[in-house]
Symmetry: C2
Subunit: 459 residues, 2 copies
């Protein structure tokens, strides 16, 4: 195998920070989703940009694939080395390099998790708001263009990565962007690498925008008899310009999953969970306006979470949705969908999806960051029943087609990875060939996370 030719050089460089043990390879071969494990041939733990660049040079010399690994929380198998090669575990490049409070910026290494970053920032009055739920690494979040519950107010990783240091496929190191909030100085390379799932370069440093910790925060949960009324409430809230920091939809199945997993006693109805950030007066005003819309739409069971500990409990519950839903059917695995549509089509998209799930007789809770038009169905299938998996995939394919029919996207935040690559032509048409041309230009040997994003043999 190609890797055999480079192991001596890698070993000389890395010593015991290179492993070919079965255990290390297996640990870096699976994802959180339903894809079969694909252990890499070796795992490395680089510690510096220079070292990582040298690793890439060594691997490039023999055409060995290089796949970075953050926290292993991606949902489309982005970090799986489907064509073998070397996984780069970024755990030893996880430092906060510099906090620039006056500029509301932070420079970090990509291996740091978002929770570790925010713990580091706690006393600065600033925070990094992007919150995909999982305690993902910042590098992984940038690579998949992650977002989550707070994107409706703070944007996605696209909006919050201001600059980067990137190792290219030939081992060159470049810096993209700057500390300026905006620039018109040529192609937006930072924006090109964000969301590229490490197929064009590997992040070794990221400069992130920070935001002031809000003076006041309030959150609430409310319930609706009918999911459509909940979704219409969201649409009205966004269209009226109410400044929500989070606005999450969970359906009755998800509410039941929360009750079972967290011991809560939510009515088993569709819910919205909202949060407001701002000055005390602004938060009060926005929350009141939201309350008026909810009342008009027939929402009820309003519970406000004013105390920090109540909000922590609320969002911990929300972030636990994935395991809670999996627990609805012990031993099952999940096909997780992720479409995002223009908000006017949201109610229709959810309704059609519910009908598909019912028709296929699967358990498939629906929940999502509906302020952006983004929602997920968590389709639970028996691990050992290929026929069930194919039914779930049928629903997922219908969802992607639905997203396109409504002028949206098949993935709002989870990315392409293994699961969505076959659908890229449907989403982008000839644009997929443009992506291929860019990949060919920047990684002609196809060593950076091969088999992802661009056309080629489908793994």
């Amino acid at each position: 195998m190609a890797i055999d030719t480079v192991l001596p050089a890698l070993s000389a460089l890395l010593g015991d920070r290179l492993s070919t043990s079965r255990g290390d390879r297996d640990q870096h071969g699976h994802s959180e989703s339903y894809f079969p494990p694909t252990p890499p041939e070796a795992v490395a733990w680089p510690e510096t940009t220079a070292e990582l660049a040298e690793i890439v040079q060594i691997c490039a010399s023999a055409g060995v694939p290089v796949v970075p690994w953050g926290a292993g929380t991606s949902l489309e198998g982005q970090a799986q080395a489907t064509q073998g090669g070397l996984v780069l575990d970024m755990a030893r490049m996880a430092q906060v390099l510099e906090v620039l409070p006056e500029d509301m910026l932070v420079r970090v290494q990509p291996g740091i998790t978002r929770e570790a970053l925010n713990a580091h920032l706690r006393d600065t009055g600033l925070f990094f708001p992007i919150d995909p739920g999982a305690n993902a690494s910042i590098g992984g979040m940038a690579a998949t263009r992650a977002s989550g519950t707070t994107a409706v107010k703070y944007g996605t990783m696209r909006d919050n990565v201001l600059a980067a240091e990137v190792v290219l496929a030939d081992g060159r190191v470049i810096r993209t962007g700057s500390g300026a909030r905006k620039s018109s100085a040529g192609y937006d390379l930072t924006g090109l690498f964000v969301g590229a799932e490490a197929t064009l370069g590997i992040f070794t440093e990221l400069t992130l925008r920070l935001h002031g910790q809000p003076e006041a925060v309030t959150a609430a949960v409310c319930a609706f008899d009918d999911f459509a009324r909940a979704v219409e409430t969201v649409i009205a809230t966004i269209q009226m310009g109410i400044d929500v920091a989070r606005i999450e939809f969970v359906d009755e199945a998800t509410a039941a999953a929360f009750n079972a997993a967290a011991g809560t006693d939510l009515p088993e109805l569709p819910h919205l969970m909202v949060e407001f950030h701002g000055t005390p007066a602004a938060v009060k005003e926005q929350a009141e306006r939201f309350g008026e819309i909810v009342a008009e739409m027939g929402g009820a069971h309003f519970a406000w979470a004013e105390r920090p500990e109540d909000r922590t409990k609320l969002w911990k519950m929300r972030h636990g949705a994935y395991p809670a839903c999996l627990a609805l059917r012990p031993g099952s695995m999940a096909v997780v969908t992720d479409i995002c549509v223009p908000i006017s089509h949201l109610a229709e998209a959810v309704a059609e999806t519910r009908a598909d799930i019912a028709e296929q007789g699967l358990i498939g809770p629906i929940l999502g960051h509906v302020g952006d038009g983004n929602f997920h169905a968590i389709l639970l299938v028996d691990r050992d029943d290929p026929e069930e998996l194919s039914r779930a995939k049928w629903i997922a394919a219908r969802l992607a087609a639905r997203a396109h029919r409504f002028g949206g996207t098949m993935t709002g935040e989870h990315g392409v990875g293994i699961g969505k690559r076959a659908l890229m032509a449907d989403e982008h048409g000839q644009g997929w060939q443009v992506m291929a041309a860019i990949k060919q230009a920047l990684d002609p040997k196809n060593i950076l996370n091969p088999g992802k994003i661009v056309p080629g043999d489908l793994a």
Copy 2:
């Protein structure tokens, strides 16, 4: 010349919408800045995407450069056909194609100006906020990644172009992005074409994010004895998270220019001009907080513009800064600089720039969108004095170097064009070669706006 070989085919396609007359060529050969005119060999007025694609195919067959032209308001000569060829005047592709009020989106053709777009939207309750001052075309604004006075609240063109239709260098037509507010479906092609100054593709349609017309708006002007206190007021305002929709700095020379041009009676001191958008209560609260900072910093001469007509007058005056400054020295022309720095370095950057201008003995008013750290010096030079021009260029080069020293960018919003290309290596290092590789991949014959952005012969 190469164009002679394609004129018959272009003429057959376009009839009298193709011109090689001296007048039409001259009209499309100059810019608003100091660059020498470079008339193209012909001008075309395409009317449809299909027609524009065919024009590109015809030109590609003979290696004829193609340069789109919007409103001709770019400040770095982006639309100048420095290597000859065909200019595509987009004036006949200037329609609003579809307003989607529920999704807060609009689809437009690129030739429409921002003022025409907002006139069209007036009764929808929505508006397109990006405001570079000039009544630029939307396509030109996207191509240069424009921003302006409102970027501090609403972002730049990067943040507000959601999707595009693009004609590639070989005449293929692709659609990038979608109507969804966010996506993780592969490389961000929309973001790559925005800011590429038509070197990678030509926009034929843009989908823009709209924003709700604010319920309440208030604006104010205040003056400071010392420019540094004005800048420090801005820094404090941003760092405290005060939600400004605009926060503009003008120095004492600019204030004098306004008085001369608009007949106002501003004290000839450094000023801030601010605006707040939101609910009546939120606007009041934010304006009060801003007022407290101004008072602490010793600002005075506070004048509130509560009535729409007063605000119109205020911003018309601000937008007239460029001609007003030019009129400070009749017959002069201007070298306009455009650096953007992390906000903590703003006061120092302005101070050093003032010292440079004084040392060179030029008139050079300073003004800027300081909430983003972006400011301009308008360096007035005698048209017929090459020595003065070289002094202005010396100041401009020092400014770019200063931007880099402070971790910023040499262009916050004007783009690269003719004026900044020689500085791209300083800004991007090896990243400039990455841009070249992308250009080579997408436009191998170098026909799309050649001589801009990427390395090559400097025009």
